[in-house]
């Protein structure tokens, strides 16, 4: 049965084209994915992320439970920090990538991908069982809305007050909204969290409020952002934005068949004591050959897509994991997982629907926002 967020009707009223994404009926674009992409890079975009999972781990041993369950050293995290991490199986294969937010000494929020919410929840419950900690799936309790772009801070602060401007990247803070600047929006006094995290390569915030305030928050942001050109943004633009920013997508770059070493995430594998799930396999994998993720500028007019073979000297050396036309760069880009690491500037060949197409190896990310 397809799930919907509290903003579903709003999306259809805006004329969004809807698709099934991980069992949720979500907007893929409202008018033009390319226009929405440019809006995020030049002004700001508004994203409904209500399909993502909010899993809470609380209790006196919450941090130890997460140390066991994930790659992260949760115990060492200061309150108010966010960390990108992964959950692996016993073979070191990646079950999901996720962000862990330490809301309090004994309270953590783990945000997992929509496609993996139930699996990650089940694993956390099992892995936390021996600890004095509770795992709750609070996905339905929360609305999650993101504002991303150079104007994001200006816009969000109209609802939260100026102090939030001091929040640094990968930090999370409690917020209380004010309706002063957005009359009639119905957000006065609403409490929640703001995290300075995102999936676009731009500055911005991810806002967590009680689910019953989803529409009020969306409407308040729409109103607050109107003078700055804030537009709603669907999943298609979300994908081209994260691709340009060199960020992996679970199911494309990250799978159960890849270890963190295969996807350039060795830095996430902490040399901890040998007791977190997957640690034995990863200790072995650390010394074995692994794959590499590389960025490619693809020649020609036809994009390379997930699954297309990558060849050097006639031999298949890997596969395209994600590819699309880059609206910001103006050429086709792709991320590929290869069994060797080429030099920057090297040429590889991609089988684009039967046509051998050259591509140049470039650094990731493809795009960095102006500082």
């Amino acid at each position: 049965m397809t799930r919907t967020t509290q903003l579903h009707q709003l999306h259809t009223e805006l004329g969004a084209r809807m698709i099934d994404f991980a069992g949720w009926d979500m907007p893929v674009w409202y008018d033009s994915a390319i226009d929405e992409h440019h809006a995020v890079r030049n002004a700001a975009g508004l994203f409904d992320l209500g399909h993502m999972a909010e899993l809470f781990v609380t209790g006196p041993q919450a941090s130890s439970a997460l140390d066991r369950a994930l790659l992260i050293d949760a115990t060492a995290m200061p309150v108010g920090r966010a960390r990108y991490s992964m959950i692996c199986n016993e073979m070191g294969g990646i079950i999901d990538d996720l962000i862990v937010y330490r809301l309090d000494e004994t309270e953590f929020m783990v945000v997992a991908n929509a496609s993996n919410g139930p699996v990650v929840f089940a694993e956390l419950v099992e892995r936390a069982a021996e600890f004095n900690a509770t795992v709750d799936d609070r996905t339905d309790d929360f609305a999650l809305v993101a504002v991303q772009g150079p104007k994001a801070e200006e816009i969000v602060l109209r609802l939260t007050g100026p102090d939030l401007g001091d929040l640094k990247y990968y930090r999370v803070a409690h917020i209380q909204l004010s309706g002063e600047q957005v009359e009639g929006a119905g957000i006065e006094g609403v409490q929640g969290y703001a995290a300075r995290t995102g999936y676009t390569g731009e500055d911005g915030f991810e806002l967590f409020v009680p689910a019953e305030y989803s529409q009020a928050l969306w409407n308040a942001l729409t109103q607050a952002g109107a003078p700055d050109g804030l537009v709603p943004v669907g999943l298609a633009a979300r994908d081209t934005l994260r691709l340009e920013a060199g960020m992996p997508l679970y199911g494309n770059e990250l799978t159960l068949e890849t270890t963190p070493f295969d996807v350039g995430s060795a830095r996430l594998v902490k040399p901890k004591d040998d007791w977190y799930v997957g640690s034995k396999a990863l200790a072995v994998a650390a010394d074995e050959p692994h794959d590499f993720l590389v960025g490619l500028h693809v020649d020609g007019r036809r994009p390379a897509r997930t699954g297309y073979d990558v060849r050097v000297d006639g031999r298949v050396i890997g596969v395209v994991t994600s590819g699309a036309p880059s609206p910001t760069l103006g050429n086709n880009i792709a991320i590929a997982r290869l069994d060797q690491t080429p030099e920057l500037g090297d040429t590889v060949h991609i089988d684009v629907r039967g046509t051998e197409t050259s591509a140049t190896v470039v650094e990731l990310p493809f795009y960095r926002r102006p500082q």
């Binding site: 893929v28 674009w29 994915a33 007019r301 994009p303 897509r305 036309p325 629907r353």
Partner: protein, 124 residues
């Protein structure tokens, strides 16, 4: 509701046909809405023989590749070369500058939809 010009014929694959010495073929506004931003078009070659109902080209959007079907059997006599460098024209003007190719058909009978028939199809 997307535009469905009265004077054209249509196929279930969301193509329109303007009859004449050669038939002009394109894709409908409905198809454009489904596809989203179009980034690449592969058209048949001038002189190619095509068979009704079989693929003769591809349209790629930001999200997916879709096939273009020949609505009738015959010879391709002209293709819209401008689409090579400006595929987005299809989205901007699907019934005008976004035409795909022109086809000289044999005298076969083709079951095509009229505007009302196509409207019933897409509005169901």
């Amino acid at each position: 509701m997307s535009e469905i010009p009265e004077q054209l014929s249509y196929t279930a694959e969301h193509e329109w046909i303007a009859h004449g010495d050669a038939a002009t073929v394109g894709i409908t506004a409905f198809a454009v809405e489904e596809l989203g931003d179009i980034v690449f078009v592969e058209l048949p070659g001038v002189g190619d023989m095509v068979t009704a109902g079989t693929p003769c080209g591809e349209i790629e959007s930001t999200k997916a590749v879709s096939e273009i079907y020949a609505p009738m059997t015959g010879e391709i006599v002209e293709v819209n070369d401008a689409l090579e460098t400006a595929p987005e024209t299809i989205g901007d003007d699907p019934y005008g500058d976004g035409w795909l190719f022109k086809l000289k058909t044999d005298d076969g009978e083709y079951v095509l939809l009229d505007a009302d028939g196509y409207r019933s199809l897409v509005e169901s």
